[in-house]
Amino acid sequence: MEVVSYRNVETFVQHIPEVTALGVWIKAIIILAVISAIAGFGTYVERKVLAFMQRRLGPMHVGPYGLLQIIADGIKLFTKEDIVPQNANRFIFMVAPVITAATAFIALAAVPVFPDFTIPEWIPVIGGTFVPSIASDLNVGILFVLGMMAAGLYGPLLAGMAQANKWGIIGAARTAIQFLSYEVVTGLSILAPIMIVGSLSFVDFNAAQAGGVANWLVWKQPVAFILFLIAGFAETNRTPFDLLEHEAEVVSGYATEYSGMRWGMFFIGEYANMITISVIAAIVFLGGYSTEGLGWLWIMLKIAFFFFLMLWVRAAWPHVRPDQLMWLCWKVLMPIAVINVVITGIVMMV
């Protein structure tokens, strides 16, 4: 499935004249490698930040300041026994984590993650290749990302249903409810900025906010920003909405029966999603990137801030009850989002 998806990406990228297929390939590999690494590194950061907020040191022993902890974790995940429960639906059980990881990375295909650059000429074979910032600059980029994240639902869902475990199925049910519900809020909240910009392309969003902090959409659409953040937390299964794997209630939710690298794929998918949401929030609301100078550093900082925010919130806040979660979504956030859209429309009309 992964392979198919990347061919997909490759196919439509051909329309963009200056981007060669090789460049896209390189970009895809970079995303895959770097985001995977960042996802791993994210766990280290998360542990460290949580530790600091509790005045602990966090991982310290593997490498300087515990920096190599991710390698240790990786070795552990790869070498652990891959257990498939006896009554599980073997194929689905094995394929489910791949769906999560794959959709998370596919979503990243339409997101500008790193600056574009040209590979120096002196490098053989690939020398001179232009590597774009976005692997696939779709004109419906935002919708594509949201759609792919929606498709990511199938990972946990199938995992939960396939593993013949009651905690798994409860976790899966929670996943389905939470993702579906908050997808509505995500879509509606981002609709208002889309109306203002009039495009679904990230590049257009970036262009619309160029010219300084004052032009950031967050000032025009603060409500949408907050709604998007809240929904983003829910979609990435972060505290205070981490009900899918809440161990005090459902052991480990849809991941209960998973071990080793299969569990690791869920993990990577989750972290990739966190990065995706951070990127969208940064581009849509906080002005995105600038191609000149240190512009890319700025967006990195913005992404890092959102990532940090997720950890910060985890350290500070308790999580909500499932019924509160649904109540918040349908009775509070969705109406506000609708109202926000209406108001935005009215303002635009006038």
Partner: protein
């Protein structure tokens, strides 16, 4: 006894103080007001502030709580009951244990065993002394009962072992003779209390 009485049978005066709870809103409007109130109260951000403050304190003001255990150790209370040590007499260097067997007797997990014999100086000599740490629950009775303050709880609290039944012999616990000058007088569990003199009846020792 009625159910209510039964439930409250251990309650005593029933002087409960109700916490300052809000009324549960009954009307939709009330509920909405509550939501608004809660939404715009900065409580959540206070929480964020607290964690951020702690992080700053930890990172920049040196208030990190973590003790890097195998490399750093907290000082333990003298009353802490860790691995036993056998002390020596400071003057002569002879071990204090007289082999009275009281520790063996009082040990509630039966982990102390000793062999004694009549030695050439017509004294009771401890020829072998073991504590089975697989069984020891570190209750401290042995140190407390010891009339000679010979067996005490030392500061070594790392008791993890690869074997279930690890035990230690007399020589393991005895202060090495060359480290006699480092031997600390024990002031923990079972040691003579500072006000011991006030608590005992004195007998005239005329001769």
């Amino acid at each position: 006894m009625g159910l209510e009485q039964f439930k409250n049978r251990n309650v005593g005066q029933q002087e409960y103080v109700l916490l300052d709870l809000e009324h549960t809103p009954q009307t939709p409007m009330g509920k909405f007001k509550q939501v608004v109130k809660r939404t715009f109260k900065p409580e959540l951000f206070v929480g964020l502030g607290v964690t951020m403050r702690e992080m700053i304190n930890a990172l920049f003001k040196g208030q990190m709580h973590t003790i890097k255990y195998p490399f750093e150790k907290l000082p333990i209370s003298p009353r802490y009951r860790a691995i036993h040590e056998m002390l020596r007499l400071l003057e002569s260097g002879h071990y204090r244990c007289i082999g009275c067997g009281l520790c063996e007797k009082i040990c509630i997990s039966n982990c102390i065993t000793m062999d004694t014999r009549y030695d050439e100086n017509q004294r009771k000599e401890v020829s072998e002394y073991t504590i089975n740490f697989g069984r020891c629950i570190f209750c401290g009775y042995c140190a407390e009962v010891c009339p000679e303050l010979a067996i005490v709880h030392g500061p070594r609290y790392e008791t993890a072992s690869e074997q279930r039944a690890s035990f230690s012999l007399f020589e393991d616990m005895l202060t090495p003779i060359d480290k006699l000058n480092l031997q600390q007088e024990y002031d923990g569990f079972g040691a003579v209390t500072p006000n011991a003199d006030e608590n005992i009846k004195k007998t005239p020792l005329a001769y």
